[in-house]
Symmetry: C2
Subunit: 322 residues, 2 copies
Protein backbone atom coordinates (compact mmCIF):
# COMPACT_ATOMS: atom_id res chain seq x y z
CA UNK A 1 0.00 0.00 0.00
CA UNK A 2 1.29 3.47 -0.74
CA UNK A 3 2.42 5.42 2.28
CA UNK A 4 1.51 8.95 3.25
CA UNK A 5 3.77 10.42 0.58
CA UNK A 6 2.14 8.37 -2.17
CA UNK A 7 2.13 10.15 -5.47
CA UNK A 8 1.78 9.63 -9.14
CA UNK A 9 3.94 10.01 -12.21
CA UNK A 10 3.46 13.15 -14.25
CA UNK A 11 3.83 12.65 -18.00
CA UNK A 12 3.95 15.96 -19.85
CA UNK A 13 3.71 16.53 -23.60
CA UNK A 14 3.43 19.83 -25.41
CA UNK A 15 5.58 21.82 -23.01
CA UNK A 16 6.47 23.37 -26.36
CA UNK A 17 3.36 23.97 -28.44
CA UNK A 18 5.03 23.19 -31.78
CA UNK A 19 5.99 19.66 -30.70
CA UNK A 20 2.66 17.88 -31.33
CA UNK A 21 3.71 14.22 -31.25
CA UNK A 22 3.67 13.82 -27.47
CA UNK A 23 0.28 15.58 -27.09
CA UNK A 24 -1.09 13.24 -29.75
CA UNK A 25 0.21 10.25 -27.77
CA UNK A 26 -1.39 11.59 -24.57
CA UNK A 27 -4.74 11.79 -26.38
CA UNK A 28 -4.41 8.20 -27.59
CA UNK A 29 -3.55 6.95 -24.09
CA UNK A 30 -6.46 8.87 -22.60
CA UNK A 31 -8.72 7.03 -25.07
CA UNK A 32 -6.93 3.69 -24.65
CA UNK A 33 -5.03 3.57 -21.33
CA UNK A 34 -3.71 0.12 -22.14
CA UNK A 35 -2.09 1.46 -25.28
CA UNK A 36 0.75 2.34 -22.91
CA UNK A 37 2.49 -0.30 -20.79
CA UNK A 38 2.01 1.54 -17.49
CA UNK A 39 2.72 -1.17 -14.86
CA UNK A 40 -0.33 -0.05 -12.95
CA UNK A 41 1.18 3.29 -11.97
CA UNK A 42 -1.15 6.24 -11.49
CA UNK A 43 -0.19 8.51 -14.36
CA UNK A 44 -1.17 12.12 -14.85
CA UNK A 45 -1.14 12.86 -18.58
CA UNK A 46 -0.88 16.61 -18.98
CA UNK A 47 -0.37 19.03 -21.87
CA UNK A 48 2.29 21.48 -20.72
CA UNK A 49 1.33 24.55 -22.71
CA UNK A 50 -2.18 24.12 -24.18
CA UNK A 51 -2.39 27.75 -25.32
CA UNK A 52 0.80 27.40 -27.36
CA UNK A 53 -0.25 23.98 -28.68
CA UNK A 54 -3.54 25.45 -29.92
CA UNK A 55 -1.65 27.88 -32.15
CA UNK A 56 1.26 25.58 -32.97
CA UNK A 57 3.96 27.80 -31.51
CA UNK A 58 6.74 26.93 -29.08
CA UNK A 59 5.33 29.43 -26.57
CA UNK A 60 3.11 32.47 -26.31
CA UNK A 61 5.16 34.88 -24.19
CA UNK A 62 8.21 32.98 -22.99
CA UNK A 63 9.61 29.46 -23.16
CA UNK A 64 7.67 27.41 -20.57
CA UNK A 65 10.65 25.10 -20.22
CA UNK A 66 12.77 28.04 -19.01
CA UNK A 67 10.07 29.30 -16.65
CA UNK A 68 10.52 27.01 -13.66
CA UNK A 69 13.38 28.85 -11.94
CA UNK A 70 12.42 29.34 -8.31
CA UNK A 71 13.19 33.05 -8.28
CA UNK A 72 10.97 33.56 -11.32
CA UNK A 73 8.09 31.59 -9.84
CA UNK A 74 8.34 33.51 -6.58
CA UNK A 75 8.40 36.94 -8.24
CA UNK A 76 4.82 38.23 -8.15
CA UNK A 77 5.73 40.82 -10.79
CA UNK A 78 6.27 38.03 -13.32
CA UNK A 79 2.86 37.27 -14.77
CA UNK A 80 3.56 36.08 -18.31
CA UNK A 81 1.26 33.31 -19.52
CA UNK A 82 4.03 30.74 -19.19
CA UNK A 83 5.10 31.71 -15.66
CA UNK A 84 1.47 31.53 -14.60
CA UNK A 85 1.18 28.13 -16.28
CA UNK A 86 4.32 26.92 -14.49
CA UNK A 87 2.79 27.90 -11.13
CA UNK A 88 -0.48 26.23 -12.09
CA UNK A 89 1.28 22.98 -13.03
CA UNK A 90 3.11 22.96 -9.70
CA UNK A 91 -0.03 23.72 -7.72
CA UNK A 92 -1.90 20.93 -9.47
CA UNK A 93 0.79 18.29 -9.94
CA UNK A 94 3.83 19.33 -7.87
CA UNK A 95 5.10 17.11 -5.07
CA UNK A 96 3.13 19.31 -2.67
CA UNK A 97 0.32 19.93 -5.14
CA UNK A 98 -3.31 18.94 -5.19
CA UNK A 99 -2.58 15.68 -7.05
CA UNK A 100 1.02 15.16 -6.06
CA UNK A 101 3.43 13.65 -8.57
CA UNK A 102 6.86 12.48 -7.45
CA UNK A 103 8.35 11.90 -10.88
CA UNK A 104 8.00 14.06 -14.00
CA UNK A 105 8.72 12.77 -17.49
CA UNK A 106 8.63 15.55 -20.07
CA UNK A 107 8.30 14.41 -23.71
CA UNK A 108 9.98 16.61 -26.30
CA UNK A 109 10.95 16.49 -29.95
CA UNK A 110 13.69 18.32 -31.83
CA UNK A 111 14.66 19.18 -35.39
CA UNK A 112 18.17 17.93 -34.55
CA UNK A 113 19.15 14.34 -35.29
CA UNK A 114 19.26 13.41 -31.60
CA UNK A 115 17.60 10.06 -32.18
CA UNK A 116 15.88 8.76 -29.05
CA UNK A 117 17.67 10.37 -26.12
CA UNK A 118 17.45 11.59 -22.54
CA UNK A 119 18.18 14.99 -21.05
CA UNK A 120 19.03 15.21 -17.36
CA UNK A 121 19.47 18.48 -15.50
CA UNK A 122 22.19 18.49 -12.87
CA UNK A 123 23.32 15.52 -10.84
CA UNK A 124 20.42 14.50 -8.60
CA UNK A 125 21.03 10.87 -7.60
CA UNK A 126 17.50 9.66 -8.42
CA UNK A 127 17.65 11.25 -11.90
CA UNK A 128 20.97 9.58 -12.62
CA UNK A 129 19.66 6.22 -11.45
CA UNK A 130 16.54 6.52 -13.60
CA UNK A 131 18.61 7.55 -16.64
CA UNK A 132 21.00 4.64 -16.02
CA UNK A 133 18.11 2.20 -15.83
CA UNK A 134 16.73 3.44 -19.16
CA UNK A 135 20.18 3.48 -20.74
CA UNK A 136 20.69 -0.11 -19.61
CA UNK A 137 17.45 -1.15 -21.32
CA UNK A 138 17.54 0.87 -24.55
CA UNK A 139 21.10 2.21 -24.81
CA UNK A 140 19.88 5.78 -25.10
CA UNK A 141 22.47 8.55 -24.97
CA UNK A 142 22.16 11.01 -22.08
CA UNK A 143 22.75 14.76 -22.36
CA UNK A 144 23.61 16.08 -18.92
CA UNK A 145 22.79 19.77 -18.84
CA UNK A 146 24.29 21.84 -16.04
CA UNK A 147 26.13 25.04 -15.21
CA UNK A 148 24.71 27.09 -18.09
CA UNK A 149 23.71 30.51 -16.79
CA UNK A 150 21.88 31.34 -20.04
CA UNK A 151 19.59 28.30 -19.91
CA UNK A 152 17.80 27.77 -16.59
CA UNK A 153 14.42 26.91 -15.16
CA UNK A 154 13.56 23.54 -16.71
CA UNK A 155 10.25 21.90 -15.81
CA UNK A 156 11.49 18.57 -14.49
CA UNK A 157 13.84 20.26 -12.00
CA UNK A 158 10.83 21.22 -9.86
CA UNK A 159 9.81 17.60 -9.25
CA UNK A 160 11.75 15.28 -6.91
CA UNK A 161 12.86 13.22 -9.89
CA UNK A 162 12.48 13.75 -13.60
CA UNK A 163 14.00 13.85 -17.02
CA UNK A 164 13.27 14.79 -20.59
CA UNK A 165 12.80 12.26 -23.38
CA UNK A 166 14.04 14.05 -26.49
CA UNK A 167 13.42 12.55 -29.93
CA UNK A 168 14.40 13.78 -33.38
CA UNK A 169 14.82 14.76 -36.07
CA UNK A 170 11.31 15.92 -36.84
CA UNK A 171 10.16 19.30 -38.10
CA UNK A 172 8.19 21.50 -35.76
CA UNK A 173 4.45 21.14 -36.00
CA UNK A 174 4.54 17.75 -37.69
CA UNK A 175 2.96 14.48 -36.57
CA UNK A 176 5.28 11.54 -37.28
CA UNK A 177 4.47 7.96 -36.28
CA UNK A 178 8.13 7.02 -35.83
CA UNK A 179 8.80 9.88 -33.44
CA UNK A 180 5.75 8.89 -31.41
CA UNK A 181 6.88 5.28 -31.34
CA UNK A 182 10.33 6.19 -30.04
CA UNK A 183 8.86 8.50 -27.38
CA UNK A 184 6.58 5.72 -26.21
CA UNK A 185 9.40 3.16 -26.06
CA UNK A 186 11.53 5.47 -23.92
CA UNK A 187 8.62 6.31 -21.62
CA UNK A 188 7.74 2.63 -21.22
CA UNK A 189 11.38 1.93 -20.35
CA UNK A 190 11.23 4.66 -17.69
CA UNK A 191 8.06 3.16 -16.21
CA UNK A 192 9.58 -0.32 -16.25
CA UNK A 193 12.64 0.97 -14.36
CA UNK A 194 10.41 2.68 -11.79
CA UNK A 195 8.41 -0.51 -11.45
CA UNK A 196 11.57 -2.51 -10.73
CA UNK A 197 12.80 0.20 -8.35
CA UNK A 198 9.52 0.09 -6.43
CA UNK A 199 9.60 -3.68 -6.14
CA UNK A 200 13.25 -3.75 -5.11
CA UNK A 201 14.38 -5.75 -8.15
CA UNK A 202 16.22 -2.97 -9.95
CA UNK A 203 19.90 -3.60 -10.62
CA UNK A 204 21.90 -0.82 -12.20
CA UNK A 205 24.98 -1.03 -14.41
CA UNK A 206 28.30 0.00 -12.83
CA UNK A 207 28.34 3.33 -14.65
CA UNK A 208 26.24 5.82 -16.57
CA UNK A 209 27.63 7.24 -19.81
CA UNK A 210 26.76 10.93 -19.98
CA UNK A 211 27.45 13.68 -22.50
CA UNK A 212 28.13 16.59 -20.17
CA UNK A 213 27.24 20.06 -21.42
CA UNK A 214 30.27 22.35 -21.75
CA UNK A 215 28.91 25.24 -23.77
CA UNK A 216 27.17 26.32 -26.96
CA UNK A 217 28.28 27.91 -30.23
CA UNK A 218 26.26 30.39 -32.29
CA UNK A 219 26.42 30.93 -36.06
CA UNK A 220 28.97 33.54 -37.22
CA UNK A 221 27.08 36.76 -37.90
CA UNK A 222 27.44 40.05 -39.76
CA UNK A 223 27.22 43.27 -37.76
CA UNK A 224 23.47 43.45 -38.34
CA UNK A 225 22.91 40.00 -36.85
CA UNK A 226 22.43 38.20 -40.17
CA UNK A 227 24.22 34.83 -40.22
CA UNK A 228 27.33 35.07 -42.40
CA UNK A 229 27.65 31.28 -42.51
CA UNK A 230 25.46 28.26 -41.89
CA UNK A 231 26.18 24.92 -40.30
CA UNK A 232 28.50 22.88 -42.48
CA UNK A 233 26.58 20.05 -44.19
CA UNK A 234 29.21 17.63 -42.86
CA UNK A 235 28.17 18.41 -39.30
CA UNK A 236 24.42 18.02 -39.89
CA UNK A 237 23.04 14.78 -38.50
CA UNK A 238 26.15 14.08 -36.46
CA UNK A 239 24.78 14.71 -32.99
CA UNK A 240 26.58 12.49 -30.44
CA UNK A 241 29.47 11.82 -32.87
CA UNK A 242 33.04 12.85 -31.98
CA UNK A 243 34.08 16.23 -33.38
CA UNK A 244 37.73 17.28 -33.57
CA UNK A 245 39.24 20.77 -33.70
CA UNK A 246 40.08 20.54 -37.42
CA UNK A 247 36.58 19.39 -38.42
CA UNK A 248 34.48 21.93 -40.34
CA UNK A 249 31.45 23.30 -38.51
CA UNK A 250 30.34 26.28 -40.62
CA UNK A 251 30.14 27.03 -44.33
CA UNK A 252 29.92 30.62 -45.60
CA UNK A 253 27.72 31.76 -48.48
CA UNK A 254 30.90 31.97 -50.56
CA UNK A 255 31.71 28.35 -49.76
CA UNK A 256 34.46 28.84 -47.16
CA UNK A 257 34.51 26.36 -44.26
CA UNK A 258 35.27 27.26 -40.65
CA UNK A 259 36.85 24.65 -38.37
CA UNK A 260 35.70 23.95 -34.84
CA UNK A 261 39.01 25.24 -33.41
CA UNK A 262 38.27 28.72 -34.76
CA UNK A 263 35.03 29.08 -32.84
CA UNK A 264 35.78 27.25 -29.58
CA UNK A 265 35.47 29.29 -26.42
CA UNK A 266 38.91 29.81 -24.86
CA UNK A 267 38.24 27.47 -21.97
CA UNK A 268 37.60 24.62 -24.44
CA UNK A 269 40.71 25.21 -26.55
CA UNK A 270 42.96 22.21 -26.22
CA UNK A 271 40.14 19.67 -25.95
CA UNK A 272 41.16 16.91 -28.37
CA UNK A 273 37.57 15.87 -29.01
CA UNK A 274 34.06 17.08 -28.20
CA UNK A 275 30.62 15.66 -28.88
CA UNK A 276 28.01 18.02 -30.39
CA UNK A 277 24.32 17.82 -29.54
CA UNK A 278 21.27 19.79 -30.69
CA UNK A 279 22.91 20.50 -34.04
CA UNK A 280 20.56 22.91 -35.84
CA UNK A 281 17.59 22.78 -33.49
CA UNK A 282 15.22 25.30 -35.10
CA UNK A 283 14.02 26.74 -31.79
CA UNK A 284 17.55 27.52 -30.61
CA UNK A 285 18.27 30.10 -33.32
CA UNK A 286 16.71 32.78 -31.12
CA UNK A 287 18.77 31.54 -28.18
CA UNK A 288 21.99 31.97 -30.18
CA UNK A 289 22.74 28.25 -30.21
CA UNK A 290 23.77 26.57 -33.49
CA UNK A 291 24.97 23.52 -31.56
CA UNK A 292 26.06 22.60 -28.05
CA UNK A 293 29.27 20.85 -27.09
CA UNK A 294 29.62 18.04 -24.60
CA UNK A 295 32.27 15.73 -23.27
CA UNK A 296 31.50 12.01 -23.11
CA UNK A 297 32.11 10.80 -19.56
CA UNK A 298 31.60 7.57 -17.68
CA UNK A 299 30.19 8.15 -14.22
CA UNK A 300 30.30 5.29 -11.71
CA UNK A 301 26.89 4.80 -10.12
CA UNK A 302 26.74 4.97 -6.35
CA UNK A 303 24.50 2.99 -4.05
CA UNK A 304 23.08 6.36 -3.02
CA UNK A 305 21.62 6.84 -6.50
CA UNK A 306 19.87 3.48 -6.50
CA UNK A 307 18.62 4.03 -2.94
CA UNK A 308 17.28 7.48 -3.84
CA UNK A 309 15.32 6.11 -6.79
CA UNK A 310 14.03 3.19 -4.74
CA UNK A 311 12.84 5.49 -2.00
CA UNK A 312 10.95 7.63 -4.47
CA UNK A 313 9.52 4.72 -6.41
CA UNK A 314 8.17 3.12 -3.25
CA UNK A 315 6.10 6.25 -2.74
CA UNK A 316 4.38 5.88 -6.09
CA UNK A 317 0.72 4.96 -6.15
CA UNK A 318 -0.17 1.72 -7.88
CA UNK A 319 -3.64 0.87 -9.04
CA UNK A 320 -5.07 -2.33 -7.63
CA UNK A 321 -4.60 -5.17 -10.05
CA UNK A 322 -7.96 -6.07 -11.59
CA UNK B 1 17.93 47.50 -75.96
CA UNK B 2 14.80 46.75 -73.97
CA UNK B 3 11.58 47.92 -75.56
CA UNK B 4 8.75 49.86 -73.95
CA UNK B 5 7.55 46.81 -72.02
CA UNK B 6 10.99 46.21 -70.54
CA UNK B 7 10.80 44.70 -67.09
CA UNK B 8 12.77 42.83 -64.54
CA UNK B 9 12.63 39.43 -62.87
CA UNK B 10 11.07 39.31 -59.43
CA UNK B 11 12.73 36.84 -57.07
CA UNK B 12 10.71 36.36 -53.90
CA UNK B 13 11.77 34.59 -50.72
CA UNK B 14 9.92 34.44 -47.43
CA UNK B 15 6.43 34.44 -48.90
CA UNK B 16 6.03 32.16 -45.89
CA UNK B 17 7.75 33.63 -42.84
CA UNK B 18 8.85 30.25 -41.45
CA UNK B 19 10.86 29.38 -44.57
CA UNK B 20 14.05 31.37 -43.85
CA UNK B 21 16.49 29.84 -46.34
CA UNK B 22 15.43 31.92 -49.35
CA UNK B 23 15.40 35.20 -47.38
CA UNK B 24 18.92 34.35 -46.21
CA UNK B 25 19.99 33.82 -49.83
CA UNK B 26 18.45 37.16 -50.84
CA UNK B 27 20.49 38.88 -48.13
CA UNK B 28 23.69 37.24 -49.36
CA UNK B 29 22.99 38.26 -52.98
CA UNK B 30 22.22 41.81 -51.93
CA UNK B 31 25.66 41.90 -50.27
CA UNK B 32 27.36 40.03 -53.12
CA UNK B 33 25.35 40.30 -56.35
CA UNK B 34 27.82 38.10 -58.19
CA UNK B 35 27.20 35.31 -55.72
CA UNK B 36 24.29 34.53 -58.05
CA UNK B 37 24.83 33.79 -61.75
CA UNK B 38 22.34 36.39 -62.98
CA UNK B 39 23.20 36.74 -66.70
CA UNK B 40 22.98 40.50 -66.35
CA UNK B 41 19.23 40.47 -65.74
CA UNK B 42 17.72 43.20 -63.60
CA UNK B 43 16.54 41.27 -60.56
CA UNK B 44 14.28 42.51 -57.82
CA UNK B 45 15.06 40.55 -54.66
CA UNK B 46 12.07 40.87 -52.37
CA UNK B 47 10.98 39.33 -49.07
CA UNK B 48 7.36 38.32 -49.55
CA UNK B 49 6.07 38.57 -46.00
CA UNK B 50 8.57 40.51 -43.85
CA UNK B 51 6.17 40.76 -40.88
CA UNK B 52 5.75 36.97 -40.76
CA UNK B 53 9.48 36.40 -41.31
CA UNK B 54 10.27 38.65 -38.34
CA UNK B 55 8.28 36.39 -36.04
CA UNK B 56 9.11 33.11 -37.82
CA UNK B 57 5.53 32.18 -38.67
CA UNK B 58 4.05 31.13 -41.99
CA UNK B 59 1.75 34.16 -41.92
CA UNK B 60 0.23 36.72 -39.58
CA UNK B 61 -3.46 36.72 -40.57
CA UNK B 62 -3.78 34.53 -43.64
CA UNK B 63 -1.52 32.62 -46.02
CA UNK B 64 0.04 35.22 -48.34
CA UNK B 65 0.40 32.56 -51.01
CA UNK B 66 -3.38 32.11 -51.08
CA UNK B 67 -4.05 35.85 -51.09
CA UNK B 68 -3.53 36.71 -54.77
CA UNK B 69 -6.97 35.74 -56.08
CA UNK B 70 -8.30 38.65 -58.15
CA UNK B 71 -11.64 38.76 -56.37
CA UNK B 72 -9.89 38.94 -53.01
CA UNK B 73 -7.53 41.71 -54.11
CA UNK B 74 -10.42 43.71 -55.55
CA UNK B 75 -12.59 43.42 -52.42
CA UNK B 76 -12.03 46.61 -50.42
CA UNK B 77 -13.54 44.91 -47.36
CA UNK B 78 -10.59 42.51 -47.25
CA UNK B 79 -7.88 44.30 -45.32
CA UNK B 80 -5.89 41.54 -43.63
CA UNK B 81 -2.16 42.14 -43.43
CA UNK B 82 -1.48 39.60 -46.16
CA UNK B 83 -4.08 40.89 -48.62
CA UNK B 84 -2.66 44.38 -48.14
CA UNK B 85 0.84 42.99 -48.69
CA UNK B 86 -0.30 41.24 -51.87
CA UNK B 87 -1.66 44.52 -53.25
CA UNK B 88 1.56 46.29 -52.22
CA UNK B 89 3.72 43.71 -54.02
CA UNK B 90 1.64 44.08 -57.18
CA UNK B 91 1.72 47.88 -57.04
CA UNK B 92 5.49 47.85 -56.60
CA UNK B 93 6.55 44.89 -58.74
CA UNK B 94 3.56 43.82 -60.84
CA UNK B 95 3.71 43.92 -64.62
CA UNK B 96 1.93 47.28 -64.43
CA UNK B 97 3.64 48.28 -61.20
CA UNK B 98 6.14 50.99 -60.35
CA UNK B 99 9.12 48.70 -61.07
CA UNK B 100 7.52 46.24 -63.45
CA UNK B 101 8.56 42.61 -63.36
CA UNK B 102 7.50 40.24 -66.11
CA UNK B 103 8.59 37.01 -64.46
CA UNK B 104 8.19 35.99 -60.81
CA UNK B 105 10.21 33.19 -59.22
CA UNK B 106 8.99 32.37 -55.72
CA UNK B 107 11.41 30.40 -53.54
CA UNK B 108 9.84 28.02 -51.02
CA UNK B 109 10.85 25.19 -48.75
CA UNK B 110 8.84 22.29 -47.37
CA UNK B 111 9.02 19.70 -44.62
CA UNK B 112 8.11 17.08 -47.25
CA UNK B 113 10.84 15.17 -49.08
CA UNK B 114 10.15 16.95 -52.37
CA UNK B 115 13.84 17.31 -53.20
CA UNK B 116 14.48 20.18 -55.59
CA UNK B 117 11.27 20.69 -57.53
CA UNK B 118 9.04 23.11 -59.41
CA UNK B 119 5.41 24.02 -58.89
CA UNK B 120 3.45 25.43 -61.83
CA UNK B 121 -0.09 26.76 -61.53
CA UNK B 122 -2.32 26.05 -64.49
CA UNK B 123 -1.20 25.69 -68.09
CA UNK B 124 0.11 29.07 -69.22
CA UNK B 125 2.38 28.41 -72.23
CA UNK B 126 5.28 30.55 -70.97
CA UNK B 127 5.23 28.82 -67.56
CA UNK B 128 5.34 25.40 -69.20
CA UNK B 129 8.21 26.45 -71.46
CA UNK B 130 10.20 27.82 -68.51
CA UNK B 131 9.56 24.67 -66.48
CA UNK B 132 10.58 22.51 -69.45
CA UNK B 133 13.80 24.45 -69.88
CA UNK B 134 14.68 23.96 -66.19
CA UNK B 135 13.66 20.31 -66.30
CA UNK B 136 15.89 19.82 -69.34
CA UNK B 137 18.87 21.26 -67.43
CA UNK B 138 18.39 19.78 -63.96
CA UNK B 139 15.80 17.04 -64.35
CA UNK B 140 13.57 18.57 -61.68
CA UNK B 141 10.10 17.10 -61.19
CA UNK B 142 7.17 19.44 -61.85
CA UNK B 143 3.99 19.57 -59.76
CA UNK B 144 1.24 21.05 -61.90
CA UNK B 145 -1.38 22.48 -59.58
CA UNK B 146 -4.77 23.25 -61.06
CA UNK B 147 -8.51 22.86 -60.58
CA UNK B 148 -8.44 22.82 -56.77
CA UNK B 149 -11.21 25.05 -55.45
CA UNK B 150 -9.84 24.86 -51.91
CA UNK B 151 -6.38 26.18 -52.84
CA UNK B 152 -6.40 29.36 -54.91
CA UNK B 153 -4.67 32.71 -55.20
CA UNK B 154 -0.99 31.87 -55.60
CA UNK B 155 1.51 34.71 -55.94
CA UNK B 156 3.14 33.79 -59.22
CA UNK B 157 -0.24 33.62 -61.01
CA UNK B 158 -0.45 37.43 -60.94
CA UNK B 159 2.72 37.87 -63.03
CA UNK B 160 2.81 37.16 -66.79
CA UNK B 161 5.09 34.19 -66.14
CA UNK B 162 6.23 32.54 -62.97
CA UNK B 163 6.75 29.43 -60.94
CA UNK B 164 7.66 28.20 -57.51
CA UNK B 165 10.96 26.53 -56.68
CA UNK B 166 10.11 24.14 -53.84
CA UNK B 167 12.90 22.42 -51.89
CA UNK B 168 12.75 19.95 -49.04
CA UNK B 169 12.78 18.31 -46.63
CA UNK B 170 13.74 20.94 -44.11
CA UNK B 171 12.03 21.83 -40.85
CA UNK B 172 10.27 25.16 -40.63
CA UNK B 173 12.38 27.97 -39.26
CA UNK B 174 15.69 26.28 -39.92
CA UNK B 175 18.63 27.52 -41.98
CA UNK B 176 20.20 24.69 -43.97
CA UNK B 177 23.08 25.19 -46.40
CA UNK B 178 22.00 22.30 -48.64
CA UNK B 179 18.47 23.66 -49.05
CA UNK B 180 19.90 27.06 -49.96
CA UNK B 181 22.28 25.48 -52.45
CA UNK B 182 19.47 23.60 -54.21
CA UNK B 183 17.28 26.71 -54.33
CA UNK B 184 20.13 28.66 -55.90
CA UNK B 185 20.84 25.96 -58.50
CA UNK B 186 17.20 25.90 -59.60
CA UNK B 187 16.99 29.70 -59.73
CA UNK B 188 20.22 29.90 -61.76
CA UNK B 189 18.79 27.32 -64.16
CA UNK B 190 15.66 29.46 -64.56
CA UNK B 191 17.77 32.54 -65.28
CA UNK B 192 19.88 30.61 -67.78
CA UNK B 193 16.74 29.45 -69.60
CA UNK B 194 15.41 33.02 -69.71
CA UNK B 195 18.79 34.20 -71.00
CA UNK B 196 18.66 31.65 -73.82
CA UNK B 197 15.04 32.52 -74.54
CA UNK B 198 15.91 36.22 -74.79
CA UNK B 199 18.82 35.57 -77.14
CA UNK B 200 16.81 33.18 -79.32
CA UNK B 201 19.03 30.19 -78.60
CA UNK B 202 16.62 28.25 -76.41
CA UNK B 203 15.69 24.77 -77.65
CA UNK B 204 13.14 22.83 -75.65
CA UNK B 205 12.72 19.07 -75.30
CA UNK B 206 9.77 17.49 -77.15
CA UNK B 207 7.75 17.09 -73.95
CA UNK B 208 7.43 18.22 -70.36
CA UNK B 209 6.86 15.57 -67.68
CA UNK B 210 4.35 16.90 -65.17
CA UNK B 211 2.77 15.47 -62.03
CA UNK B 212 -0.76 16.80 -62.38
CA UNK B 213 -2.69 17.51 -59.17
CA UNK B 214 -5.79 15.33 -58.79
CA UNK B 215 -6.74 15.86 -55.17
CA UNK B 216 -5.62 15.73 -51.54
CA UNK B 217 -6.17 13.33 -48.66
CA UNK B 218 -6.47 14.31 -44.98
CA UNK B 219 -5.57 12.18 -41.96
CA UNK B 220 -8.40 9.99 -40.60
CA UNK B 221 -9.89 11.77 -37.59
CA UNK B 222 -12.00 11.11 -34.53
CA UNK B 223 -15.25 13.03 -34.14
CA UNK B 224 -13.46 15.78 -32.19
CA UNK B 225 -10.98 16.36 -35.01
CA UNK B 226 -8.06 14.56 -33.37
CA UNK B 227 -6.14 12.41 -35.88
CA UNK B 228 -6.94 8.75 -35.31
CA UNK B 229 -4.00 7.65 -37.45
CA UNK B 230 -0.79 9.17 -38.78
CA UNK B 231 0.98 8.82 -42.09
CA UNK B 232 2.38 5.33 -42.49
CA UNK B 233 6.17 5.35 -42.09
CA UNK B 234 6.43 3.48 -45.39
CA UNK B 235 4.93 6.48 -47.20
CA UNK B 236 7.18 9.10 -45.58
CA UNK B 237 9.91 10.35 -47.88
CA UNK B 238 8.28 8.83 -50.97
CA UNK B 239 7.09 12.00 -52.66
CA UNK B 240 7.11 11.51 -56.49
CA UNK B 241 7.23 7.70 -56.15
CA UNK B 242 4.43 5.52 -57.56
CA UNK B 243 1.77 4.56 -55.02
CA UNK B 244 -0.67 1.74 -55.68
CA UNK B 245 -4.14 1.13 -54.18
CA UNK B 246 -2.93 -1.66 -51.88
CA UNK B 247 -0.03 0.38 -50.47
CA UNK B 248 -0.40 1.51 -46.83
CA UNK B 249 -0.79 5.24 -46.30
CA UNK B 250 -1.91 5.56 -42.65
CA UNK B 251 -1.02 3.79 -39.40
CA UNK B 252 -3.33 3.97 -36.38
CA UNK B 253 -2.18 4.36 -32.80
CA UNK B 254 -3.04 0.68 -32.33
CA UNK B 255 -0.78 -0.27 -35.24
CA UNK B 256 -3.40 -0.91 -37.92
CA UNK B 257 -2.52 0.16 -41.48
CA UNK B 258 -4.94 1.75 -43.94
CA UNK B 259 -4.41 1.22 -47.66
CA UNK B 260 -4.64 3.98 -50.25
CA UNK B 261 -7.74 2.37 -51.82
CA UNK B 262 -9.70 2.90 -48.60
CA UNK B 263 -9.21 6.67 -48.60
CA UNK B 264 -9.31 7.52 -52.31
CA UNK B 265 -12.01 9.93 -53.41
CA UNK B 266 -14.58 8.12 -55.54
CA UNK B 267 -13.46 9.80 -58.75
CA UNK B 268 -9.96 8.38 -58.27
CA UNK B 269 -11.06 4.82 -57.53
CA UNK B 270 -9.80 2.59 -60.31
CA UNK B 271 -6.56 4.52 -60.87
CA UNK B 272 -3.90 1.79 -61.00
CA UNK B 273 -1.18 4.14 -59.76
CA UNK B 274 -0.86 7.64 -58.37
CA UNK B 275 2.12 9.76 -57.38
CA UNK B 276 1.97 11.50 -53.97
CA UNK B 277 3.51 14.90 -53.32
CA UNK B 278 3.75 17.12 -50.23
CA UNK B 279 3.68 14.07 -47.98
CA UNK B 280 3.49 15.44 -44.41
CA UNK B 281 4.07 19.12 -45.11
CA UNK B 282 3.74 20.63 -41.62
CA UNK B 283 1.89 23.73 -42.82
CA UNK B 284 -0.80 21.71 -44.58
CA UNK B 285 -2.20 20.13 -41.40
CA UNK B 286 -4.45 23.13 -40.94
CA UNK B 287 -5.51 22.87 -44.59
CA UNK B 288 -6.59 19.24 -44.08
CA UNK B 289 -3.93 17.87 -46.41
CA UNK B 290 -1.82 14.89 -45.31
CA UNK B 291 -0.62 14.39 -48.89
CA UNK B 292 -1.69 15.28 -52.40
CA UNK B 293 -2.12 12.87 -55.30
CA UNK B 294 -0.95 13.41 -58.84
CA UNK B 295 -0.79 11.56 -62.12
CA UNK B 296 2.48 11.54 -64.02
CA UNK B 297 1.86 12.79 -67.55
CA UNK B 298 3.98 13.62 -70.55
CA UNK B 299 2.86 16.80 -72.24
CA UNK B 300 4.18 17.54 -75.74
CA UNK B 301 5.53 21.09 -75.93
CA UNK B 302 4.05 23.33 -78.58
CA UNK B 303 5.83 26.04 -80.55
CA UNK B 304 3.38 28.42 -78.91
CA UNK B 305 4.95 27.75 -75.52
CA UNK B 306 8.45 28.50 -76.73
CA UNK B 307 7.24 31.60 -78.60
CA UNK B 308 5.42 32.86 -75.49
CA UNK B 309 8.52 32.53 -73.33
CA UNK B 310 10.71 34.14 -76.00
CA UNK B 311 8.36 37.10 -76.31
CA UNK B 312 8.43 37.66 -72.57
CA UNK B 313 12.16 37.15 -72.21
CA UNK B 314 12.89 39.69 -74.93
CA UNK B 315 11.11 42.24 -72.80
CA UNK B 316 13.45 41.70 -69.87
CA UNK B 317 15.91 44.43 -68.98
CA UNK B 318 19.58 43.53 -69.19
CA UNK B 319 22.28 45.50 -67.48
CA UNK B 320 25.03 46.76 -69.81
CA UNK B 321 28.02 44.47 -69.75
CA UNK B 322 30.84 46.16 -67.88
Amino acid sequence: MPGPQAGSILVVGGTHGNEPNAPWLLQQWQRQPDGLQHHGFALQLVVGNPAALAVGRRYIERDLNRSFAEALLADSQRQSLEVRRARELLQAHGAQGASPALVAIDLHSTTAAMGNSLVVYGRRPADLALAAGIQQRLGLPVYLHEADQAQQGFLVERWPCGLVIEVGPVPQGLLHAGIGRQSQLALEAALAVLHQAASGSLRLPPALVVHRHLGSVDLPRHGDGTPSALLHPRLLGLDWAPLRPADPVFLSAEGHPTALAAVLPERLQGEPCLWPVFVNEAAYGEKGIAFSLTRRERWPLTDTALAALRGLAQGLTRRQAA
